[in-house]
């Protein structure tokens, strides 16, 4: 471990050269700027900006990547909070509480807790990356399909946190999401499901199209429908623009818990960035002292998931750097970035190019600091966007929603889906169906199904394989407990109430 510290110090001496700092700054800036465009997540951001780095030397270009990567991750949360338009699936949860806060004039604290939470999470996770990468990665590859399936089940249990007050309507939303998850080619057999001969549907339904349709378009329609009867008032700022003492007090624990969830799960080869955000939201909802605020703009519901999201981004770099495993779309593009210099990330990279690896890790720290320095002053500017007259604000949101959708996939079919999901979101709002479970179903359904069938295929159909691994058994037990515990508590409190 001492070696790591020395190597890291060496890395800082590379990354702190003025030109390298400039590259990091440009990277963070570009990443944030492109990342805030709705529908454009970090993967597309990095892919789009990859050519910009072509002519730089490898170290400089990778440092710029690191900035773009973190900048893109952060930019995604800004649109979630301000205009209810998540740029990627992992900032969907942030929109739940964040947008409610923004509409109540608390956009400033919401953006601040997201920025600082991302910073804290990024910092801790990058330290974890620097110190423990080689060991953690050995554990991570021991995760088999059965273990992943158990993790997905645990994540499914958390969906109920987003159900609202009617389990029937929550489950309906969830299962429509699961149905949408069936659309496309089945990953294991290549069989087309629910595509009805439309080739554009073969790749399945894009999570961002569903999320942007339900959240942004549905919201615009709903607000317009209520305009004459009960006009919505958006206050850009009410009270403090900055986080109050109370906000700090309510944020710091969620940041740490989010990091603790995001980093390990993100470093699993098939862990993903979404699951830790779901888990974090659920935990914060359970632990908060202000449960009545959840669903109306609770700061914990922004702080935790945002920290989890960023920590998982750093976690993703672990299998990438140490094994050459790209475990997310963004990481796959980063890998392509490495390869354009003839570098192959993997066990040999640390030995062959220590300057570069440790320079990159050091620049992750620097990118993280720059991100917070760049973004905190911008919060005042961002929040003021909400002062744009309502007709133009929503018209602009729809333009950016449409643009993000066709930029990622330039086909009218994609736009028609956006419109249909928008209308669905409107109808669901009218009849008080929760929206988040549908998106969660679309994300988790295919993942869980694939891992289940993979596990069964490897075990030749023996269901015992699902619980034979101690890890899988533990995760399933936690899931069962999480499902049953609230019922027991409810029973207990009722019992108590009767006694009193």
């Amino acid at each position: 471990m001492l070696d790591s510290v020395l190597a890291l110090a060496q890395g800082f001496s590379v990354a702190l050269e003025p030109t390298k700092l400039l590259f990091a700054l440009i990277g963070v800036f570009l990443g944030t700027a492109v990342g805030v465009l709705p529908g454009i997540g970090p993967a597309l951001t990095v892919a789009l900006l990859l050519p910009v780095t072509f002519k730089l030397d490898p170290t400089g270009s990778l440092i710029m990547f690191a900035g773009i990567y973190y900048g893109g991750m952060y930019g995604g949360s800004t649109t979630s909070i301000l205009i209810n338009t998540p740029g990627e699936s992992s900032s969907m949860i942030t929109a739940l509480e964040g947008n409610k806060m923004a509409k109540a004039g608390r956009g400033g604290p919401a953006l601040a807790t997201a920025a600082i939470g991302s910073f804290v999470a990024g910092l801790i996770a990058t330290i974890g990356l620097a110190l423990f990468a080689p060991w953690l990665v050995e554990i991570a590859i021991q995760f088999g399909p059965a273990d992943y399936f158990a993790l997905m089940i645990l994540a499914f249990v958390t969906v109920s946190a987003t159900f609202g007050d009617s389990p029937l309507r929550g489950l309906t939303s969830l299962f429509i999401g699961l149905m949408l998850g069936l659309v496309g080619l089945d990953a294991l057999s290549g069989q087309a499901r629910l595509t009805f001969g439309v080739p554009e549907l073969l790749d399945g339904i894009e999570v961002t199209t569903l999320a942007v349709g339900l959240f942004a378009v549905g919201e615009a329609l709903y607000v317009a429908s209520r305009l004459k009867h009960a006009p919505e008032t958006i206050e850009p700022v009410r009270g403090s623009l900055w986080m109050t003492k109370e906000d700090w007090k309510r944020s710091w624990k969620p940041w740490l818990r989010g990091t603790a969830l995001g980093f390990p799960i993100g470093s699993l080869p098939a862990g993903g960035a979404e699951i830790p955000t779901f888990l974090s939201y659920t935990i914060e909802k359970r632990l908060t002292k202000h449960p009545e605020e959840f669903g109306k703009g609770a700061i914990e519901g922004v702080a935790g998931p945002e920290a989890a999201n960023n920590a998982s981004a750093a976690g993703t770099l672990m299998p990438l750097l140490t094994l050459g495993l790209p475990t997310s779309a963004t990481a796959a593009i980063l890998l392509a970035g490495f390869q354009q210099y003839g570098l192959n990330p993997g066990p040999l990279l640390f030995a062959e190019k220590p300057d570069l690896v440790w320079g990159l890790i050091a620049s992750l720290f620097i990118a993280n600091v720059m991100l917070v320095v760049l973004n905190l002053p911008l919060i005042g500017l961002w929040v003021r966007l909400l002062a744009i007259p309502q007709p133009w604000l929503y018209a602009g949101i729809l333009v950016f929603a449409a643009m993000g959708t066709i930029a990622a996939n330039p086909s009218p079919v994609e736009l028609i889906m956006l419109a249909v999901f928008g209308l669905l979101g409107f109808v669901m709002r009218r009849y008080d169906y929760p929206i988040a479970p549908m998106v969660v179903g679309l994300i988790l359904g295919p993942m869980a199904e694939t891992q289940l069938r993979r596990a069964l295929q490897i075990s030749l159909g023996d269901p015992m394989a699902l619980v034979e691994s101690p890890l899988a058994a533990t995760l399933l037990a936690i899931a069962a407990l999480a499902l049953v515990a609230p019922l027991i508590f409810k029973g207990l409190s009722r019992f108590k109430a009767e006694e009193d």
Binding site: L182, R226, H229, G295, Y394, L398, I406, P412, R430
Partner: protein, 163 residues
């Protein structure tokens, strides 16, 4: 979106909306089941094929449809708040117009102008020409930014070919 509008009135007994929703869910379940029945047996060592998930979802949607019927009979379907349908239809027209323009090769900028103009109108603005103008400016700005700086392709029409 959770736990909002706690103060919404409870619905009325036998609300027809509940039956419409239930019928919709049944239709979805039927579509999924029909699709699954056409898949045929795929031999896999897993013992379950791609249709297993479809059947599960179809069964669950059917159960939820029944649950919705029960809740409609009991009057548990929330009564929606009054809605200004003209505004919603104006915005939907804007979205439909945008899709049509892009599908028929009208290009990105006019499509965004129509979307912007009609959405603003749906939100009560009465200066359609001004708003269309703003939409053109916004569309042009986005188009140039994307195609020139990011090398992403956006739909092209007569106007876009000028650049």
């Amino acid at each position: 979106m959770t736990q909002q509008e706690d103060d919404r009135p409870e619905g009325r007994r036998g609300d027809p909306v509940g039956f419409v929703i239930a019928a919709g869910l049944l239709a979805l379940a039927a579509a999924v089941a029909w699709d699954a029945s056409g898949m045929g047996a795929v031999s896999s060592y897993a013992g379950i094929g791609p249709s297993a998930a479809s059947w599960t979802v179809a069964a669950a949607l059917t159960a939820l449809a029944l649950g919705t019927v029960v809740s409609a009979v009991r009057g548990k379907i929330p009564v929606p708040e009054p809605s200004d349908h003209a505004a919603v239809l104006t915005i939907l027209a804007g979205i439909a117009g945008m899709i049509a323009i892009i599908s028929f090769g009208g290009g990105f900028i006019p499509a965004m102008a129509v979307l912007f103009g009609l959405t603003a109108r749906g939100f009560g603005r009465r200066a359609l020409l001004t708003d269309l103008g703003i939409g053109v400016a916004l569309g042009l700005f986005v188009y140039l930014g994307f195609t020139k700086l990011l090398a992403l392709s956006l739909p092209q029409g007569p106007i876009e070919h000028l650049f």
